[in-house]
């Protein structure tokens, strides 16, 4: 590389950086307070846009100068909508569960007045003497944010914020390095693909770099299809430039000219944010011809998926980009050698690419210092289901499941008992309490029968039926199977039918053997990951929760009282507070009435649709509504 070129890159980037830093400082040092509202999809679902509107209106009404910035998701999704207020002289305070009324109060009492409204506070960002900060939370000792660092702290629609926080400096550095050096650095770091399978990223890059071919492609796989996982969505919505920067560096390292970001159509906000980010990057010549004055040219196109789970598989994704059916192809040849249009194609997951800039910036050694022997760095998990602190968390590899669920996630709500954690989506499995002390990494999870997958964790408690969750996943994989391999297409259907019978109480004892046999056949007879891993949810639940299957089959009983065909709702007359009408009013099908003389409530089992509304409505001090299984347990029923 020529010295002149290096100097151009440095000076071009320095100029951009100086300007963005100036904007950033102007925002924070203007002497005015700054309000930040998390408006990623999770925030919006909880009403964040209404909060933004209320804040702006109130600020205008009070004639204050105070910008309201929309930021991404900071991972504390349980407390959405989240508002952060930074007032000069105070540490930044974060408020949870904000609604428009609270928003107006915050403006009047904290921004205009001086009362930080402690009753709505979630925590402070910096440590101080008054308000507990996030660093004091028990989860702080486990959380090590690398790729989530910017999420919820910067405006994802403003490239200046990203650059002012160190963004694109790794690109400027990488463009002055030899591509081989970058590849060897990534290889040395031990980074493994975060899409699920955990293939060493550096080796993939090396294969693609050495593959013959003048035209190469770089694809970012944002087809996060696993139900229960949303890390890729959150990153694309909250920090899209980190992924774009990773893509440009990867493309430079392997010599790719064309880039594609494949985002699910179910993520409209992510699509919108990525599109905007690409436009901004192009404007600053971070994309396009002769990036930052170097000899390297590269551009990225956005491609929206169209709702097919199987397209998360790389060969299917490529077929879909080519306008064909998303049907996986036999590998080898691997896409790194023969991919899009038969040309060498590097394809990496969103999170994998988000790590790239940090590895370039801090070096392989820094990355290697975290994590376990064979899985380096951090892991990002999405916590959902029956857990107090739902949201996103980034912890070093090797943290145990127990630490993630009980210390970071604060355990199970409503004093219920933990039953299992479903990890890895439809390809993963359900791990019981006994597996909780397992340090999480790619290999340990696989040994336990689950899979890292993309990192979705759904926590299940005593009210969740393990047969039902196995049936749910089979229903999903059966529907999403592309139909190419017979065992996947028909085998999953057979398994689904058997499981459906069991959840209806029509199962036979032989069915359990049939399930095990079919699971083996599907694993052996399928080409891609979808089929090969589809039986995992069934196999792990059979391995760890066989007694539940047996209860369904032998006694027609659902121990968790979840399978609708095997339960009935019942109001205990002795517990019913006769003058209360809570359940009667809420019943959506008018199935509850008062017993004419004694006034306790009765459920008409014929009319009841088992939606559970009455159980939620019954005041906790009475607790008169219960679920019974099998339904014949209801007194007076035959």
């Amino acid at each position: 590389m020529q010295v002149v070129e290096q100097a151009t890159i440095t000076s071009t980037f320095e100029e951009i950086r100086r300007r963005t830093e100036l904007h950033w400082k102007q925002l924070w040092n203007s002497g005015n307070p700054v309000v930040m509202v998390g408006t990623a999809t999770c925030g919006r679902a909880a009403g964040a846009l209404e909060v933004v509107r209320a804040m702006r209106e109130e600020i205008e009404k009070q004639e204050l100068v105070c910008p309201v910035i929309e930021v991404g998701c900071m991972g504390h999704c349980y407390a959405e909508p989240i508002v952060m207020i930074s007032k000069p002289g105070y540490s930044t305070v974060c408020y949870g569960h904000v609604n428009p009324v609270i928003a107006q109060r915050l403006v009047r009492e904290y921004i205009l007045g001086d009362d930080p409204c402690l009753e709505f506070v979630l925590g402070a960002l910096e440590q101080n003497d008054v308000i507990p900060s996030f660093a004091d939370f028990p989860r702080a000792q486990y959380e090590k944010k690398v790729i989530l660092k910017n999420c919820g702290q910067i405006d994802p629609t403003n490239i200046d914020h990203y650059i002012a926080n160190g963004g694109y400096s790794s690109l400027a550095k990488a463009l002055q390095m030899l591509p081989d050096k970058i590849v060897s650095e990534v290889k040395e770091s031990g980074l493994r693909g975060r899409g699920g399978a955990g293939f060493p990223t550096g080796i993939k890059w090396e294969i693609c770099r050495n593959a013959p071919g003048r035209l190469k492609h770089m694809i970012c796989n944002g087809d996060e299809g696993d139900p229960g996982a949303f890390m890729d969505r959150a990153i694309l919505e909250s920090d899209p430039h980190s992924v774009i920067e990773g893509m440009i560096i990867a493309a430079y390292a392997v010599g790719a000219r064309h880039g594609h970001i494949y985002v699910r159509a179910e993520y409209p906000l992510a699509v919108q944010r990525v599109r905007m980010a690409l436009r901004q990057a192009r404007k600053l010549n971070l994309l396009g011809k002769n990036i930052l004055g170097s000899n390297f040219s590269f551009d990225i196109k956005l491609f929206q998926g169209s709702g097919a789970f199987v397209c998360g598989e790389e060969t299917a994704l490529i077929a879909s980009l080519e306008g064909k059916l998303g049907i996986p192809q036999h590998r080898p040849p691997y896409p790194a050698i023969k991919g899009l249009h038969g040309q060498p194609t590097l394809i990496n997951n969103v999170k994998t690419l988000a790590y790239v800039r940090h590895i370039v910036e801090h070096g392989a050694e820094w990355f290697k210092n975290r994590g376990t022997d064979r899985s380096k760095g951090t892991a990002v998990f999405a916590l959902a289901g029956k857990i107090v602190n739902t949201g996103m968390v980034e912890v070093p590899m090797g943290t145990t499941l127990r630490q993630v669920i009980f210390d970071v996630g604060s355990g199970i709500p409503r004093g219920k008992r933990f039953k299992a954690v479903q990890i890895g989506g439809p390809s993963g499995g359900c791990l019981p309490e006994s597996a909780l002390d397992l340090p999480i990494d790619f290999d340990s999870l696989r040994d336990a029968g689950a899979m890292m997958g993309s990192g979705g964790m759904v926590i299940l408690d005593e009210d969740d039926c393990m047969v039902e969750i196995a049936r749910y996943f089979l229903e999903f994989t059966q529907r999403e199977s592309c139909g190419k391999c017979t065992f996947c297409r028909l085998g999953t259907k057979q398994m689904l039918e058997v499981l459906t019978d069991i959840t209806k109480g029509q199962g036979k004892i032989e069915d359990i053997d049939v399930l095990e046999q079919l699971a083996q056949d599907i694993k052996n007879g399928s080409l891609c990951g979808l089929g090969k891993t589809a039986p995992n949810p069934v196999l792990t639940t059979l391995r760890y929760f066989k007694d539940e299957y047996l209860a369904h089959v032998m006694e027609g009983q659902c121990p968790a009282r979840m399978c609708l065909d095997l339960i009935a709702y019942y109001i205990i007359p002795e517990k019913c507070e006769r003058s209360c009408d809570a359940c009667v009013g809420t019943c959506t099908v008018e199935a509850i009435s008062s017993q004419p003389r004694k006034r306790y409530k009765i459920i008409d089992q014929e009319k009841c649709v088992k939606c559970g509304t009455c159980l939620n409505a019954c005041p906790p001090q009475y607790n008169a509504v219960i679920k019974l299984s099998p339904p014949s347990e209801v007194p007076g029923q035959i």
Binding site: T41, E80, P227, G228, E266, F303, G305, G323, G612, T613
Partner: protein
């Protein structure tokens, strides 16, 4: 008959207007279909024929792509779209119960449109709002914690029930 013909020509016009912006490469097929559906709400036969001709590929290929991917629909949508999320977290927190409630209230199943073309109901694999489960996406906006009572609340906010009652009272009087 005349009405149908008129509709067909309109579909053709809209489709060819969109096609002008694309290259005649097979790669454009899915983006074209997405654009056309975005404009028309669904993919009528006429539009698919037009696209096949434009790209110079068999009509069968267009149809197979349309039916392979979940996003594409062959029948017109309702005025309001109801998408019940059936991701893992939503399912475990009662997404299937919410779906039942929608089915009961609208009187249609997933993939169908109400007779008055007010609502269409469908399921979606996961919208990534797992922390707000169970989620229903109503007209593109994810609604958090949609339980059967909330289903009624949302419907009420559309004034659907009241309109229906109004119609019924008109009919009876």
């Amino acid at each position: 008959m005349a009405v149908i013909l008129e509709e067909d020509t309109q579909v053709k016009q809209e489709t060819s207007r969109i096609l002008r912006r694309f290259s005649r490469k097979r790669d454009s097929l899915i983006p074209i279909l997405q654009e056309v559906q975005g404009k028309l709400g669904y993919l009528p036969r006429e539009a698919m024929l037009e696209i096949a001709e434009f790209l110079g590929i068999p009509e069968m290929d267009v149809y197979s792509v349309v039916t392979f991917y979940n996003q594409f629909r062959l029948n017109p949508p309702g005025k309001h779209s109801i998408r019940v999320c059936l991701g893992t977290a939503c399912h475990m927190k009662g997404g299937y119960i919410a779906l039942d409630a929608w089915k009961r209230r609208l009187g249609i199943g997933p993939g169908e449109t109400t007779e008055d073309r007010e609502f269409d109901l469908d399921t979606v694999a996961c919208v990534g709002c797992c922390t707000m489960a169970p989620v229903t996406v109503v007209d593109g906006k994810p609604e958090a914690k949609v339980e059967p009572t909330r289903v009624d609340g949302l419907l009420l906010s559309f004034g659907h029930e009241s309109q229906k009652e109004l119609k019924e009272s008109h009919a009876s009087s």
